[in-house]
Amino acid sequence: MRTTIRALTAVLTTGTLLAAGCSRGGPSGGGDDKVSGDKIVLAVLNDQSGVYADLSGRNSVEAVRMAVADFQAKYGDRAVTKNIEVVTADHQNKPDIANSKAQELYDRQQADIILDVPTSSAALAVANVAKAKKKLYFNIGAATTELTGKQCNKYTFHYAYDTFMLANGTGTAVTKEGSKNWYIVYPDYAFGQDMEKSFSAAISAAGGTVLAKDPTPFPNDNFSTFLLKAPAMKPKPDVLGTMQAGGDLVNLVKQYNEFKLREQGIKLSVGLMFITDIHSLGPDAFAGTTFTDAWYWNFDDRNRQWADRFMAKTQTRPSFAHSANYSAAMQYLEAVQRAGTDASDAVVGKLEGYSYDDVFARNATIRAEDHRVVHDVYLAEVKPKSEVKTDWDYEKILRTIPAAEAFRPASAGGCSL
């Protein structure tokens, strides 16, 4: 009897779960009005449960909601429509889920634009979906330059950062400041390989030398081999450039400090760092490290005001991904307002070539040639703990890298729009 009850429960639960997923079938339909479905739907598709959950995740959805609220406050009754919705899905860092969800968001939830999408394979897959569905897509979370290169398309825009911008900023600036000899360590997958190539190019162009470049396993928690190799090299490198990200970066920096490489005169430069990484280890572990940041909350009053509003909603300080999501949503809505409709082609027309200046993107232009959004970026250095006056105030901005310098020239990408 007990086994029968168990069996019954199991079968009923299964049945309910399977049935719950139903009623989303049927062939896809179409339809067009001035504002499709009489509402604008912004969809945030990102990682809400895995490694990117903290630096973007659910808080980016909040940021987008802030943008919607600000847009509605700004235009009131003059807005193209008052009916603006924000939906979201978690792609769990899996490109096949991202692919299915993107299609579903566009088809079933009538999303007019998808935002964020970290993880390169997912980002590229969604770009293809956007192209097929002819709907807009602003990628914020992924770094691959392929989005504005060979895999570019009319409806895809790359918003916040990419591997070239990160490498060019740090590589050039640090080399020019006098650290000519580099030892580069990079994780052996596409992102790491791209970063290494961009860094090497930038360093050579600035007159520096890459003494060695070693691929490391990915993921990896033990970097001692590489860290021990550095001081023994002849000539000794001035700076260790690391392209690791996330947990690997934390491991590397912890061990970098263990082996006291900084005391031996080998500075640390990081390819990609988020403020949440600094928070993981504390600023002292990273003190003196240079990197390129797309945006920093404590840079000026305008950023601080926005960061305070963000903190009121989320109890934490924003990373550049959060503010980029806000800005992307805002710029999309503004473009719709200018076009008078949310029809994709019209909005794309209003976005291409548009120059603007908002809290995230300063001196920004949306390039028509490859849909790369160029904006000012910042060369940052991590403060030692003694200089940190308030929570999360970890960065010292050394200089602003203007938009024209920071990003890869449009002709170099191989994009043909």
């Binding site: 449960s49 895995g50 490694v51 959950a53 903290d54 052996d188 070693d214 691929p215 490391t216 396993p217 990915f218 993921p219 990896n220 928690d221 033990n222 001692s224 081999t225 590489f226 021990l228 190799k229 023994a232 947990g247 690997d248 934390v250 491991n251 912890k254 061990q255 263990e258 082996f259 006291k260 949440t276 990484d277 928070h279 993981s280 280890l281 504390g282 572990a285």
Partner: protein, 290 residues
């Protein structure tokens, strides 16, 4: 030459972690026939235990080294009594899957509470310098880790070979029915041995906290490598697991140095080669293979 030795030493340190974890796994497998997928999660719980102990109650590293494994010992005992032993009579696959499910749950619980970002954990102040080992300097803490790992492995070895408890455990591992037939109560040692394996994983976690990133996924990446280590050493063999642990650590370290592109799969290539040469692992027993 000294840099080569330094890299070997490197390898021994990371091998120490492999050895400790493989030891726990081998002991649990030997005694219960359970392939404990959750071993990586227990390692992570050890590290997080140390972090939480410090952050919430100011328990310093040295105290955490005893307290956290003790707590995990109790946790392991509870786990064995309530869940694991129900599946021991069946095919080992089921316990493997049970521990896999447990891993997902434990990892996610920690993730919900603390997020995926790493947590800071400082090195103990007494060990923050470097030691002059004659041929080269080395961070003191890592020397401590290696020493602890070696001492623990030797201690377990001594217990297994020189004490009555160890004799019973070894007998139960190799010939369970015969041992029972001789009148020895094997059953009462099952829970303590399992709990000990878990505690050992937790201890490795505490040791790792100051030198590795403390995040919910730190065990997941490690567990596959540890499985490979145990298989290379031979699933039934405690000595094999420890030796393979240190050996693989050194191999990986040198691999990073000479063939970095290959180093990620090096451990699997080694495993495939070893299994082709000796299908039961280096020190495994043929009968444990089926």
């Amino acid at each position: 030459m000294s840099s080569f030795l330094q890299q070997c030493f490197n390898g021994l340190v990371s091998g120490g972690f492999y050895a400790l974890l493989a030891l726990g796994l081998a002991v649990i497998f030997g005694m219960l026939g359970v392939v404990n997928f959750a071993h990586g999660a227990f390692f992570m719980l050890g590290a997080f235990g140390a972090y939480i102990a410090l952050a919430e109650w100011g328990v310093p590293f040295w105290a955490a080294l005893f307290v956290v494994p003790a707590l995990l010992f109790i946790f392991g005992a509870v786990l064995e009594r309530t869940l694991i032993r129900r599946l021991v009579p069946f095919d080992p696959l089921y316990n493997f899957l049970l521990t896999f499910g447990l891993t997902l749950v434990l990892q996610d619980l920690v993730k919900r509470e603390y997020g995926v970002q790493s947590q800071p954990y400082p090195r103990p102040a007494e060990l923050s310098g470097s030691l002059d080992l004659g041929l080269f300097d080395y961070p003191a803490y890592q020397v401590f880790v290696l020493a602890t790992a070696v001492v623990l492995c030797v201690a377990v070895w001594l217990v297994l070979t020189r004490t009555r408890v160890g004799m019973v455990v070894r007998a139960a591992t190799e010939r369970a029915e015969l041992t029972r037939a001789l009148g020895i109560d094997v059953g009462r040692w099952v829970t303590p041995v399992f709990a000990f394996g878990v505690a050992l994983a937790g201890l490795a976690g505490v040791l790792a906290a100051p030198m590795r990133a403390v995040n919910p996924l730190m065990g997941a990446d490690l567990i596959i490598a540890v499985f490979a280590v145990v298989v290379i050493g031979g699933l039934g063999s405690v000595f094999g697991s420890v030796l393979a642990g240190f050996g693989i650590g050194v191999a990986q370290s040198l691999g990073n140095l000479y063939v970095p592109a290959l180093s990620q799969t090096l451990i699997f290539i080694i495993m495939a080669v070893v299994l082709l040469w000796r299908p039961a692992g280096l020190f495994g027993r043929e009968e444990a293979r089926t």
